[in-house]
Symmetry: C3
Subunit: 405 residues, 3 copies
């Protein structure tokens, strides 16, 4: 029965036309709705195959390279799990032990790590205006090397978080909403509050809120963004959210308090981020290596943050949501008041009630990344999954499966 | 013929009932004798399969995660080899590049790295009273996440050395003794001297001597522990050794000199460790980050150590053992007088005579770890090994094997 | 048709007798011409199999260990790709997290990381007189442990760059020349200029120029070495180049200017390196940890380098080569004037014209390394490749291939 359900998903995938093959996955707003739906279907199929113990090892050999320019637990392991479930061996490019410091250019490195690679996953979220550009350059470089015959295959570049978007997070969040609400259609008209929340740190990337407002507005949701004055997002993402809402029959609006945003919400996503202007200044100072001024900026930003400690997801606020039972979401780790910090983004009792739900939310990420690799690297991804179902190899105890042939 | 011998072992394994499936392997004294025997049988079968070139790749995909909170060569590579021989891809959780510092809790991290993982190997041996607790918490967390459907499989936690025990070492040592003495029965009545020895360093974990006295006393050996005054082990492990000796018909006693312990011994295991009280103090100071007091403690402990330089495994001491030919054991690396230090645990001529034997001793570890993974992750491990033997895939040249079908 | 071409190569390989099985690959001049030809044939076959999408996964399980004592991008990824295409999982020995600092000997470590390993790749190029010796010691140690039954298989040690040679680079360069010139025979009589070039750094290893002059002189090329006074290579390599040239009907000579070396050259390889005497002094000071004197040496060496800024591969120099169209080669990364540094080894316009060609040159390395592993680890390597061609498993979409059986 599990298999029937998976075959049904694979059938739907076969009917969803995409142009992802031989490309990269950088920003969700660069992708057609059809591409996004294909990722969602493939992710669900892969997840159900994993649960049913069916192997999805479609590569006999090949590498998946990751480049992390910022810390990561969830995304790092999700990328590795995604590569592994498809049969790719992972390697992390540690820029400090490579010769990148010896004057190697981006396009050179991109080719040098790609001779046997099918995917390059990159996290580069610290520098505003730089992360996405870097990924685009890597993608253009492997494209050139493939076109010129230097590479025998064209590795996909998958954005594991940049300055603009965090598509593997937002797509995993969307998968979670679909599972929670039943199906994608059900999201129409549902209200989601993406709000700033207080954290005793500064400089958190903008990519999560930007990813959420641009993606959820595409599927008819009522998206409300709320943050204290000055904590603006990159303008281009606000524009995209407006455009998407208009096209999908949803809405996008900006509120000025958590109270307003939470009122009647079906879903809440309270999370800290740095003001756009602070990130801009920080990028400038980091690049100029002005350490004293950076400290000054941090001091100033933390003081500014501290003025908004009331932006906390409390039980009282939760009561304002639809029936007092909105779905709470977070990309983790959350700053939990009295647990991981003195005062934070969310009250301990609220977080605890949704703790396992946030783990489930995170659990979609490996399959979303695997879906992106599957769709960029195989011309007929549905045929591939069908072959896995037709010739079941048990993920565990595979020797027995092979013997049964 | 090699295959007949392996089939015989697999047959014995099939008749050995265990409750290891879906659990963790943390302390040998938490395991039944039957569980331990099953690990020994499976380890031997896997080793003989490796020697015969028979693949034991039972996982088509899946991850094995390691967390090393202390340095390691042997155990790190043994864990990786163990995962690889079963088909798991390994990843090491580097806590400095993860978001663990950002307020992530242990139970959260445990789930985040487990979505596609079958085993988590942990070394945490620096803090007395902390290592085992941490592993237990990780094990409880993945158990909860599995029960709640967050994880599709329940990764085993394997103790790669904690503050109390070093089960992959002691079980490998036991495998070595079995190979050396012929079989497990033969160990009955054999005398093993686990003695302290001088080393020009301090703060070595207690887990090896604790692991040895608690394990070898279960199989009828005459276990003698010897150390200078003050170099006590954790009381709970002495209690366990006494209880085991009483139950197995062996004995456990404490001697006060190497001379006494070595007299008539069949096996000697001279190795340095820190006094329990020093480790307690060290843990306290490390946690409080009192660096000056730590230096003071080290100075004091080294001075205390230096009073016991005569605790060295010399040729004269070896002559006191049974026929002057006791088996010398060490977990490596040994502090060899005149080779790796000026004055150390063992005389160069003694070590050199047993050097290759200590390598063989170490060589059991990959198979012991693989056996622990096999038994915790498969409900019918003997059936799995039988399937490997029925459908031989050559570890090298596997394409040819497949072709031959 | 691709397959016919590969079968032809495999047929030639079957007829090329080698003594590489169960050995290591350390210096090209320790290898017979027949061994080198076998590596070239196997590398070409493996490359064409990769291009045709045919899997060459010949190991079902097994590890490939790398030890990098210097930075690396290309070689690190090439080694990993090579291991992966044959089915080996890679692990990097990080000496800082192992117990090597705790008095472990080289021969002990060599065995400890080898219980399930098929190959150990080592880069150790910083210390003149040390790198090759270290690799030889590792090779001797695993040989002893294999002979004594400690190891069940004999891992090959592959030199990923030492103080004397860089065989995976020079063999990849030779593959590039063969592809560029049509075949190995065509290299006879072709002039290759291996010349020093200015770089704003010091202490670059000598292994590339030494590897080139010793290897290319074996196949009848007219090898010309040119460098400023004092930038000598290790004498033993000059001797080898002379001897090879005499035997192969080629020539080896030393010129005193780039102009002279480039005149009429078919191939140019302008690249910086440190003077032999400076490397000797540097090794001595590094080992004695004399940091002040090291700084003094660097200052002096950079000043000396700066006297030779005219040693740059310019358009004018290129015009002196055969028809002004010599093949430009570099092991990358190159110091490109105005791109990666103010003044460097090569003019930007020259490099840009050959940029993709240098990528292709680098692209041979994974296959050369894989060929070395194949030939050292399989007694009948041609039979293995033939089995891959007889039972084609698609590298991508392998589930479908298996299904088709």
């Amino acid at each position: 029965m599990a298999h029937e359900e998976i075959r049904n998903l694979v059938g739907q995938l076969a009917e969803t036309s995409t142009d992802l093959y031989q490309g990269s996955f950088l920003l969700t707003w660069m992708q057609s709705e059809s591409n996004l739906k294909a990722v969602l279907l493939a992710a669900e199929a892969l997840q159900k195959m994993a649960r049913a113990g069916v192997s999805s090892k479609l590569f006999d050999t090949g590498l998946g390279i990751s480049i992390f320019r910022d810390k990561s637990t969830r995304t790092r392991y999700s990328f590795r799990a995604a590569c592994n479930m498809l049969g790719l061996m992972t390697e992390e490019l540690d820029e400090s032990t490579s010769q990148i410091s010896h004057g190697e250019t981006v396009r050179e490195t991109a080719s040098m790590i790609s001779f046997f690679s099918e995917v390059i996953g990159i996290r580069d979220d610290m520098f505003l205006g730089a992360g996405h550009k870097y990924m685009q350059e890597v993608s253009d470089s492997v494209q050139e090397s493939y076109r010129e015959g230097v590479l025998f295959q064209r590795p996909a570049v998958v954005n594991l978080q940049c300055d603009l978007d965090h598509p593997t997070q937002s797509m995993a969040d969307l998968r979670h909403l679909i599972e929670t609400c039943g199906n994608l259609e059900n999201l129409k008209g549902k209200k989601i509050a993406m709000t700033w929340a207080y954290s005793p740190s500064y400089g958190k990337p903008l990519s999560v809120p930007q990813g959420i407002i641009t993606l959820m507005s595409r599927f008819g949701m009522e998206v409300v963004l709320a943050h204290p004055e000055g904590y603006d997002l990159v303008p281009e993402t606000l524009e995209a959210a407006k455009k998407h809402a208009a096209a999908s029959g949803g809405s996008f609006s900006v509120a000025h308090s958590m109270e307003e945003a939470f009122s009647g919400a079906d879903v809440v996503y309270p999370k800290s981020w740095a003001p756009y202007k602070v990130m801009e200044k920080r990028t400038e100072l980091l690049m100029a290596r002005k350490h004293d001024e950076l400290k000054e900026l941090e001091k100033h930003a933390l003081a500014e943050n501290a003025r908004h400690k009331s932006w906390e997801c409390t039980e009282d606020l939760m009561k304002r949501t639809r029936d007092g039972k909105a779905h709470y979401m977070h990309c983790l780790p959350a700053d939990i008041t009295g647990v991981s910090c003195q005062e934070g983004e969310v009250a301990a009792s609220v977080f605890d009630r949704y703790r396992l739900a946030t783990y489930r939310e995170a659990g979609h990420k490996p399959f979303v990344i695997a879906a992106m690799i599957l769709l960029t690297r195989f011309e007929k991804p549905a045929d591939m999954l069908k072959a896995c179902l037709d010739n079941v190899v048990a993920r565990r105890g595979c020797v027995k499966s092979l013997a049964a042939r």
